[in-house]
C-alpha cells in the first residue's frame, strides 16, 4: 500500500479477496497471516485499518432496498468462509451486522 507521495506505507502480503464498498467507502481485504490464520480487514481510504475481524469473513454492503442512512454505517458479516472455495465453514457463528465504527450487532 502506497501513500500519496509514492512511499510504501505497509506491505499487505497474502491478500486473497479485495473489494470496495461504494456507500461506506471502505476497502475490504482478507489476508492470510504467516501462521496460516486468516483475518478480515476493513481499510479506510487513507490506508488506516478501521476494523479487523478474526477469520476469513465475507463482508457485504446492505441491499439497496435499505435506507441510505443505514447503508452508510452498517455492513453485513456473513459466517466465516473457506478462503479458497468461498463456502461457509460449518460450525461458524452465523454472523450479523457490523457498524463502520466497529460496533457489532451480535452476541455469541
Amino acid at each position: 500500500m502506497y501513500d500519496e507521495r509514492g512511499q510504501l506505507l505497509r506491505v499487505l502480503p497474502g491478500v486473497r479477496h479485495i473489494g470496495l464498498f461504494g456507500v461506506s467507502q471502505l476497502l475490504y481485504l482478507t489476508q492470510q497471516l504467516p501462521d496460516h490464520t486468516w483475518r478480515t480487514l476493513l481499510v479506510t481510504q487513507t490506508g488506516q485499518v478501521q476494523i479487523t475481524l478474526l477469520g476469513c469473513h465475507n463482508v457485504n454492503e446492505l441491499a439497496n432496498t435499505v435506507a441510505l442512512r443505514q447503508r452508510r454505517h452498517l455492513l453485513r458479516v456473513l459466517p466465516e468462509m473457506d478462503p479458497y472455495t468461498n463456502d461457509d465453514l460449518p460450525g461458524s457463528p452465523p454472523g450479523g451486522y457490523l457498524s463502520t465504527r466497529g460496533r457489532r450487532f451480535w452476541r455469541d
Binding site: 500519496e4 509514492g6 460496533r103
Partner: protein, 598 residues
C-alpha cells in the same frame, strides 16, 4: 339484632364471595390475556392499526444473540428481544413483514416503534384510507390466506432492473394477485372475486363484485371483469358488454360497449384525465367522458391514443387530400393548441412531445410551444447497453416504457442523463437539453460511444474518441477503459466519489480489434491527469478516493496513489494516441492532431 347481625354477616359473606368471584374473573381475564402477550417478545406491542414509522434515529438493526434474532437501535440497545430464528432483515419504508416463529399460519408486520400487527388465519392485510395497515376478516372462503404487503413496502433485493415510468397520476398501478384481490389507494374500495366451481361455460372463469374494505359487498357477484378505479370509474364487463362503475357500485355507464381489450389482448380501457377510449361492435372507436357522453365520435381513426400524462389524446386523422395528420385533443375531447396539426407526433412524456414537420423533428411543451424547433433528423436517448460496439447504432429509445436499463450484479446499472438528448443532423450527432431545448453540443461527431452520465460523455469522430462535458468542451482524447479487452470483468470507466469524478481511460488501443490496451491512466473530471500512464501489468481494479487505484499485479494487490506513479513508473509504452489536455486547462478549444504526430 340477630337478624340484623345475620344480615350483616350474610351481606359481608356475599360481598366476600363477590370479591372472590370478581378476582377470579379478573384472574381468568388475566390468564386469558397472558398467552397472547407471551407470544410476543419484549419490545413488541400488538396494535389493531399499524402506522408506518421509521423508529429510532438510525433505524432498527437486526441483532443476534446466540441463534435468535431481534432488533437493536444503532447505539446497540436492544429494542425487540431476540425471538426469530433467522435474520429478520431491515425495515423498508417504516414497515417490515415477518413470519411468526410460533404460529406458522400467520405473519406479522412491524414498524420501527415496535408496534406489531398480526395477520392470522382467515385474515387479510389491507391499507386503509389513511395509509395505515389493518387486518380484516378474509371475506371469501376460497381466497388465499393473506394478502401481500402493498408493493411500495417491499422490493426484491435480487431484481435490479429499473424501468422509467411516466409520472402520470392516472397511472396508478394496482396489483391484483392471482385473480383474487386488488386495492385502490385512497378510496377504500376493493375488488373481490370468487372462482366459479367448474363453470367453464361462462365467459369468465371468475366472477367479480365490488366491496368496501370491511368486506361489505357493494354490487352483486355478476361481473366477468372488474378493473381498477381511475378517475372514479372502474371498468366492468357483464354479459360480454363493457361499462363503468362509480365507487358506490352504481353502473354510471351501463355495459354497452365492445370489450375490445379482452378480445384483442389490448390494455384496459380505463379513464385517463377524464377520457376513455371505447369500441363498438364494428370496432369503430372514439372517446367518452366520465358521464358517458361521447366526446369524439366512434370511427375507424388511423390512430387514437389514451390521454397521456399532460392530458392530451393524440389523434391521427385523415385529411381531405388523402393524407393523415396528427392532432392533440385536450380537455373534454376538444382540439388543443388551436387545432394545430403535425406530420407525425407522439404522446407527451415528462412534459415534452416529439413532433415532426416533414422529415424534421422537434420537441413540443405542454402549452404548445416548440422548445426544440424542427431542426433535427432524429432525437433520442441512448439505450444503455454493455456491448460497447452496439452503442454506435442509434437506438430509438425515447418512449417512456421503452427506456429500459439492464443490470445485474456483474454489470451495475448506469443511468444515463436523461436531460441530454442525442440530436442527429446531416449524419452527425450532437446533444440537446431536453428541458430547455438548448443545443448543448453542435452535431459534429460521428457517433456517441457513451452518452452523458455525471456530466461527461464519450463521443467519436472517425477513429478518435473524445471525452466531452455538457458545455461541449473536449476534455481529452480518450478511450474509456474497456472492460471487454480486459477479461470482461465489468469495470466502469467513470468513478464518482463524493464531489469528484475520476475517469479511467485506456491507452494505445488498436481500433476494431480485441487487442488488449497496453496502458491506462486516470483523469479527473476537468481533464487533469491524476495518475500517469500505467502498464497493464498493473491491472486496475477500481478507483477509490483521491484518485487512488486498486491494482492487481502478478505478485498481489496494491493501492496506487497519484504521486506514486510519477517517480517510479516502470518502463512505459511510448506515448500513444491518448494525450490528456489537462495540462492545458486554459485551452478553450481542443485542437485535433493526428496520432502519429504526438
Amino acid at each position: 339484632m340477630c337478624r340484623l347481625a345475620g344480615a350483616g354477616i350474610k351481606g359481608s359473606m356475599n360481598s366476600f364471595f363477590l370479591a372472590i368471584v370478581r378476582r377470579l374473573h379478573l384472574l381468568a381475564l388475566f390468564l386469558s390475556t397472558v398467552p397472547a402477550a407471551a407470544q410476543l417478545p419484549a419490545g413488541l406491542h400488538q396494535v389493531a392499526r399499524l402506522v408506518p414509522a421509521e423508529g429510532p434515529r438510525g433505524g432498527l438493526v437486526p441483532y443476534r444473540q446466540g441463534s435468535r434474532w431481534g432488533y437493536a437501535d444503532c447505539t446497540g440497545r436492544i429494542r425487540v428481544a431476540p425471538w426469530w430464528p433467522v435474520d429478520p432483515g431491515f425495515l423498508v419504508g417504516g414497515l417490515h413483514q415477518l413470519a411468526s416463529p410460533v404460529a406458522t399460519d400467520s405473519f406479522m408486520v412491524i414498524n420501527g416503534l415496535g408496534d406489531c400487527l398480526r395477520v392470522g388465519k382467515g385474515q387479510a392485510l389491507l391499507v386503509d384510507s389513511m395509509g395505515a395497515l389493518v387486518s380484516v376478516a378474509n371475506w371469501l372462503p376460497d381466497a388465499p390466506l393473506v394478502y401481500k404487503l402493498p408493493e411500495r413496502y417491499w422490493r426484491s433485493e435480487d431484481d435490479l432492473d429499473r424501468w422509467c415510468f411516466s409520472s402520470s397520476p392516472s397511472n396508478r398501478y394496482i396489483r391484483r394477485g392471482y385473480g383474487h384481490y386488488g386495492f385502490e389507494h385512497g378510496l377504500g374500495r376493493f375488488v373481490a372475486s370468487r372462482r366459479l366451481p367448474d363453470d367453464s361455460t361462462s365467459s369468465g372463469y371468475y366472477r367479480y363484485a365490488l366491496t368496501d374494505y370491511r368486506g361489505r359487498r357493494l354490487t352483486k357477484l355478476i361481473y366477468n371483469e372488474l378493473g381498477d378505479f381511475s378517475d372514479r370509474r372502474a371498468l366492468v364487463v357483464r354479459n360480454g358488454r363493457l361499462g363503468y362503475l362509480d365507487p358506490q357500485g352504481r353502473e354510471v355507464i351501463p355495459p354497452c360497449y365492445h370489450p375490445y381489450y379482452e378480445v384483442f389482448n389490448e390494455a384496459y380501457s380505463t379513464f385517463h384525465h377524464g377520457l376513455a377510449r371505447v369500441w363498438d361492435d364494428s370496432l369503430r372507436y372514439g372517446l367518452i367522458d366520465t358521464t358517458g357522453k361521447v366526446v369524439l365520435p366512434l370511427r375507424h381513426w388511423p390512430a387514437l391514443y389514451d390521454a397521456d400524462e399532460a392530458g392530451y389524446c393524440l389523434l391521427r386523422r385523415p385529411t381531405p387530400a388523402g393524407d393523415t395528420v396528427c392532432q392533440y385533443l385536450g380537455l373534454g375531447g376538444r382540439a388543443a393548441f388551436g387545432g394545430r396539426t403535425f406530420t407525425r407526433a407522439e404522446p407527451f412524456w415528462h412534459g415534452r412531445a416529439w413532433v415532426w414537420r416533414g422529415q424534421k423533428v422537434g420537441l413540443l411543451n405542454a402549452r404548445g410551444r416548440l422548445v426544440v424547433p424542427y431542426r433535427y433528423d432524429d432525437l433520442y436517448f441512448a439505450h444503455v447497453r454493455f456491448g460497447i460496439e452496439q452503442t454506435h447504432t442509434p437506438a430509438r429509445q425515447h418512449a417512456p416504457d421503452r427506456c429500459f436499463f439492464e443490470a445485474s450484479n456483474e454489470h451495475p446499472v448506469h443511468h444515463i442523463d436523461t436531460l441530454c438528448l442525442q440530436a442527429i443532423r446531416g449524419g452527425k450527432v450532437g446533444f440537446v437539453d431536453f428541458k430547455t431545448g438548448r443545443e448543448l453540443v453542435r452535431p459534429r461527431y460521428d457517433y456517441v460511444f457513451f452518452s452523458f452520465r455525471a456530466g461527461l460523455a464519450c463521443v467519436g469522430r472517425g477513429e478518435q474518441l473524445f471525452i466531452i462535458n455538457r458545455r461541449g468542451r473536449e476534455l481529452c482524447e480518450g478511450r474509456p477503459y474497456d472492460a471487454f479487452n480486459n477479461g470482461g470483468e465489468g469495470r466502469d470507466w467513470q468513478w464518482g466519489l463524493g464531489r469528484h469524478t475520476y475517469l479511467l481511460l485506456s491507452q494505445n488501443h488498436v481500433p476494431n480489434t480485441l487487442v488488449a490496451d497496453t496502458a491506462w491512466l486516470v483523469l479527473d473530471r476537468r481533464g487533469r491527469q491524476v495518475l500517469g500512464p500505467q502498464p497493464m501489468s498493473r491491472l486496475p481494479l477500481f478507483v477509490t478516493g483521491a484518485g487512488r487505484v486498486a491494482i492487481r499485479t502478478a505478485t498481489g494487490y496494491g493501492l496506487l496513489a497519484p504521486g506514486g506513479a510519477r517517480g517510479a513508473s516502470p518502463a512505459l509504452p511510448a506515448a500513444g494516441a491518448i494525450r490528456p489536455v489537462g495540462s492545458g486547462l486554459r485551452t478553450r478549444r481542443f485542437h485535433h492532431e493526428p496520432a502519429e504526430l504526438v
